[in-house]
Symmetry: C2
Subunit: 308 residues, 2 copies
Amino acid sequence: MEKNLKIAVVGSGAIGSYYGGKLAAAGYDVHFLMRSDLAVVKNVGLKLREATGETVIPKVAAYASTQEIGSCDLVLIALKTTSNEVLKTLIPPLLKSNTTLITFQNGLGNEAFLADLFGKERVMGGLCFVCLNRVAPGVIEHYGHGALAIGEFCGEPKARTDALVAAFKEARIDARTTQSLERERWRKLVWNVPFNGLSMAAGNVTVDLILTDPGLLQLTRQLMEETIEAAARLGYPLPPELIDQQIERTWSMGAYKPSSLIDFIEGRAVEVESIWGEPLRQAKNAGASVVRLEMLYVLLKKLTAHHP
Amino acid sequence: MEKNLKIAVVGSGAIGSYYGGKLAAAGYDVHFLMRSDLAVVKNVGLKLREATGETVIPKVAAYASTQEIGSCDLVLIALKTTSNEVLKTLIPPLLKSNTTLITFQNGLGNEAFLADLFGKERVMGGLCFVCLNRVAPGVIEHYGHGALAIGEFCGEPKARTDALVAAFKEARIDARTTQSLERERWRKLVWNVPFNGLSMAAGNVTVDLILTDPGLLQLTRQLMEETIEAAARLGYPLPPELIDQQIERTWSMGAYKPSSLIDFIEGRAVEVESIWGEPLRQAKNAGASVVRLEMLYVLLKKLTAHHP
């Protein structure tokens, strides 16, 4: 991908700031739409703290509106899915005829939402397997992992898919092309459904406390089984050994707070519909038995009802 | 039952104070073991606030130890089940050869616990269908209902069963004899499992908020179905129309906080084992499908883990 391609990042939380920041640090022309962090980032830049050291991007092109950014070649969308409605007004100023939209958002339904609004040919998706937190305005801490799986909303990977993967690799991101974005999204849900969900439903517990409680660990496995069964019925078979792999991987995270738990504790909106609601609806339509997922969804919906 | 029979009440929270207080007001010789409310009750007595007016029992025989009470004819046990271990030392000073023990405690396993310690012939149980709160030391508010079902731990009702029912009736309690205490306990669990449980698991919600949330109302019905299935497998068939009856009855309670929710909010121990743990274990042993009950138990156990 040529470095003079103009990239916009819409939604500059941890995910948007991290992946956009990595691209900017690698020399790409990245423009960030920011809200709360705008003034700080304009003054002192972005900081990405990783085990390998801190990357500072001192001069960041940060904006308060997409009108100021103007039309782009690529728009990386990392807004919370609970704010998807505002994309209807945020995206149009960034569009020209061949602008590509890639959503790094959580859960299911986001590509379809963009496709309905702006045309399906534009739409790509990315799955982020990463532990990040925004610890202060413009400061992102990276706790591990970071792999990206990038795919097309419609059909097989294209030249642009591979070009974007190559760009992220150049920015030292472990990126790869996926043949099936939807299958990858279900693969990620196998982790997010239990760990993000139970971290809230069991009373604000970090993932290590889920792993060390025998009842919660068994429930985690059962929720993973339900998610894998739902994915299989929808035509996205996942290997059963994924359960052990995901649980093994989680042990290495220590007292990690899933992103939903952080939102929950801080009183912010939680992505209940994209992580639990839409998967539940698709699973039930496909005839999967998802009793625990349904119960978790019902509880989480009420638990988060008063979050804005 | 003769009024000179000596009765002890062990556990003088809302339930013990209310039913013991009603007996005392009717002229029975009732002795209350008290802890936090002892000084206040000794000074100003017990107050029972009901829709029909306030009953004041100005002179209450209240004690700090069962040694001071001494041997009794009848011991009414209304301690929280989370404190059952202390019954091992609280009960012996109250016993003579023919002392009857009746437990008004929640959930399953309490009669068996007493029978193992003090002999099964002594043991009776009572089910309280009532809405009560202790609103201040020595002050019990009654919000509705009040029916008592009284039965024997071993076998059919006896003369003493009917005598105790008659005594409660004289104290203006809607009491009746039950042929099967265990079946009554399961009947009560049909309400307690969902409403006490979901009021905590859905984020401290009163029962009206459960009824008005379509997802939680459906989950309530499903938990009731699981409880009824478990009871049936254990030999205690309950009518399926109980579900509609219980839900109908709950609408009349308004913004009622189940007793477990009050304990939970105030940071006190919650009776997780007797209301969810023991029923779950019995249900699974009997081969019942209780997926939601199991998930609820796992969540509640963790949610309440830091309560003393």
